[in-house]
């Protein structure tokens, strides 16, 4: 039986209200405040909604596109390389509410990804990605249905010079831009190594607040110089018309990759926020990669809350509060090591020193060590890791230990993943948390796999919780070569 025990009249640290009950699940959470009128006499009456469409019509659209795509491309099917990936998840968990009520959640998710390349024999491709949810029991989110269209775009890849164009909805990372955009993108490199990219359209952004709006339009570009194997440097610009604390979003950026010597490379990226007239972020790193078995990097990173978070639509980043003082600045020194000592056996070390201008949250250090052993022709991995965070303030200190293993005999796949955390300062009266995820799967056909997960969690928010998940993965394709 799947049960969850939930505390009543529970004070959530860093929240400015008392909650009458907490409803949590391993994949997320929501709180129901006594001040939020979505609960009447302990009975759930619905949940707060966002200004964003719940996507009620997206699931049928996703299904329709998945069915129609091969037909739409029938004329070019002879030349096109089609691949479709479908992942279906059915989760199940129960939540016990104050007053003895209990909700049962069984959300059914469909994630669909489709790629059609070489359309009409031309270097043109169509990419699609989206998901939808239907609740088979109580609503698990904002309504009983939801979904999102992640990307749907045409892409042209020139046979030479990696020149490309995109048109539609796509995820873009280019210089200062890390966006999802409804619009167009192009990039071209000239024979002398000077290149240019540009993009424009409507930003696909989301706000968790009611009555707030996202940006209206976004455009920008990057000019760069590249000498293969030696250097790539670029300057970039982005402007977004929007309501970002009363100003547009306007960023200047610089990026550098420099191969100082064959095994040594230096990377740098910096972003200047013109709207706030301050340096938003900087990151510099030196990396040594002498071969395929050793990789070490060290660097410096800094950012200013006010300048980096100006564009946020999530209020935690922009509203001064007990949690985040938006006049704070952070400087970080970090180091990471990845060393495959013998074939299949890899050690990982990571360390980070975080320094804040403000005494709250204060400074902290995080150290981490781990080992991974791959076997069964790289199909399976056994890993152990330990991490410790030491900090000026006890509330920020914790230790973490994790072990995992996978085992794939023939068509079976079994995995086990255990994580435990110990907090220096008790949270909701508890100083530790544990989670174990066990999974078993079977490859029914080369293109069809089914698996099931069982997750057990005990933590400051869960006295005891079990959650189940069934997963079916279908991968179809007409082309040879590596799967994407």
């Amino acid at each position: 039986m799947i049960r969850s025990f939930v505390a009543s009249n529970h004070r959530i640290p860093d929240c400015r209200f008392w909650v009458s009950k907490i409803v949590v699940d391993s994949g997320g959470f929501f709180f129901e405040s006594m001040f939020i009128p979505n609960t009447v006499l302990g009975v759930r009456m619905g949940r707060p909604t966002t200004v964003i469409s719940s996507g009620k019509r997206l699931l049928p659209s996703i299904v329709a596109i998945s069915l129609l795509l091969p037909l739409l491309l029938a004329g070019t099917a002879r030349a096109a390389d089609l691949s479709v990936s479908s992942s279906t998840y059915l989760r199940y968990y129960e939540r016990e509410l104050a007053g003895g009520n209990k909700n049962t959640f069984a959300p059914l998710y469909e994630y669909l990804s489709a790629d059609a390349a070489n359309l009409g024999g031309a270097p043109v491709a169509f990419h699609f990605y989206g998901w939808g949810r239907v609740d088979l029991s109580d609503p698990s989110g904002s309504g009983k249905e939801s979904g999102d269209l992640g990307s749907a775009y045409l892409e042209y890849l020139h046979p030479k010079g990696n020149a490309q164009m995109k048109l539609g909805r796509f995820f873009l990372a280019e210089g200062v831009a890390v966006e999802t955009l409804d619009g167009a993108f192009f990039k071209v490199t000239t024979p002398v190594g000077i290149g240019i990219s540009g993009y424009g359209g409507a930003p696909v952004e989301q706000s968790i607040l009611d009555n707030t709006s996202k940006g209206d339009s976004l455009y920008g570009g990057r000019v760069f110089f590249v000498r293969p194997g030696f250097v790539e440097m670029g300057v970039s610009y982005l402007k977004e018309k929007g309501p970002f604390q009363g100003k547009d979003r306007e960023l200047y950026g610089g990026d550098l990759w420099l191969r100082v010597a064959p095994p040594v490379e230096f990377t740098a990226q910096a972003t200047y926020n013109r709207s706030t007239r301050g340096m938003a972020s900087q990151r510099y790193a030196l990396r040594v990669v002498p071969g395929s078995r050793f990789d070490i990097s060290a660097g410096y990173e800094a950012y200013s809350y006010k300048d980096l978070f100006q564009t946020a639509l999530h209020p935690i980043f922009i509203t001064p509060s007990a949690v985040i003082d938006n006049t704070d600045k952070v400087q970080t020194i970090f180091g990471v090591l990845d060393w495959e000592v013998v074939s299949g056996l890899t050690f990982e070390l990571a360390a980070k020193n975080i320094r804040h201008d403000k005494a709250n949250p204060g400074n902290a250090n995080r150290g981490e060590a781990g080992v991974r052993y791959t076997f069964n022709d790289k199909k399976d991995v056994f890993g152990l890791s330990a991490a410790a965070v030491t900090a000026d303030r006890d509330e920020n200190e914790y230790q973490e230990f994790r072990g995992f293993v996978s085992f794939s005999p023939a068509k079976l796949r079994l995995t086990l993943d255990a994580l435990t955390q110990q907090y220096k300062q008790a949270i909701s009266g508890k100083k530790n948390a544990h989670q174990v995820v066990a999974s078993a799967g079977y490859k029914v056909r080369p293109y069809l796999s089914v698996s099931g997960d069982l997750t057990y969690t005990q933590s400051p928010t869960f006295q005891q919780d079990y959650a189940g998940l069934l997963r079916a993965t279908l991968e179809l394709g007409t082309a040879t070569g590596g799967k994407k």
Binding site: G28, T189, Y219, P361, Y423
Partner: protein, 156 residues
Amino acid sequence: MTRRAPFAAVFGAVLIALLVGCSAVSQTPSVPPKHPEELPAGRVDCLECHKDVSTGALKPYASVRHSRVFIDSHGTYARQGQNLCASCHAPAFCQTCHAGKEEMKPNTKMGDRPDRRAPHRGDYLITHRIDGRLDPGSCFRCHGNKNDSRCKQCHK
């Protein structure tokens, strides 16, 4: 400037770039849109087969070795271009984490892949308070403009 002006400017720039790009594009071959051979399971090591400099990233293959170092800093490389990434990863791969709207944590979706560095393992409702206080910049990259209706229950 009217609201439509940026669109017009971008549209014009795209047309110009098309003309210029088609006539003056670099003669180096493009990276194939799809890796021509099947790839092994697990973390990929390009250096097993490839040497020297990639046609797509125009960087040595060692730079994109999928080590912990690379995974932690993959954004630095991706911001200079994703053609090489796209040869093996579908666009949906990025959006497993970099999604505008998402309800399932990556590690919930990939509960059968403990080897992946999926973020937010365990009861992250608790741990996110500490990580968020100490390094909110790492949260902002994905959650700054992300619709997660669960956030608003506390963050108003």
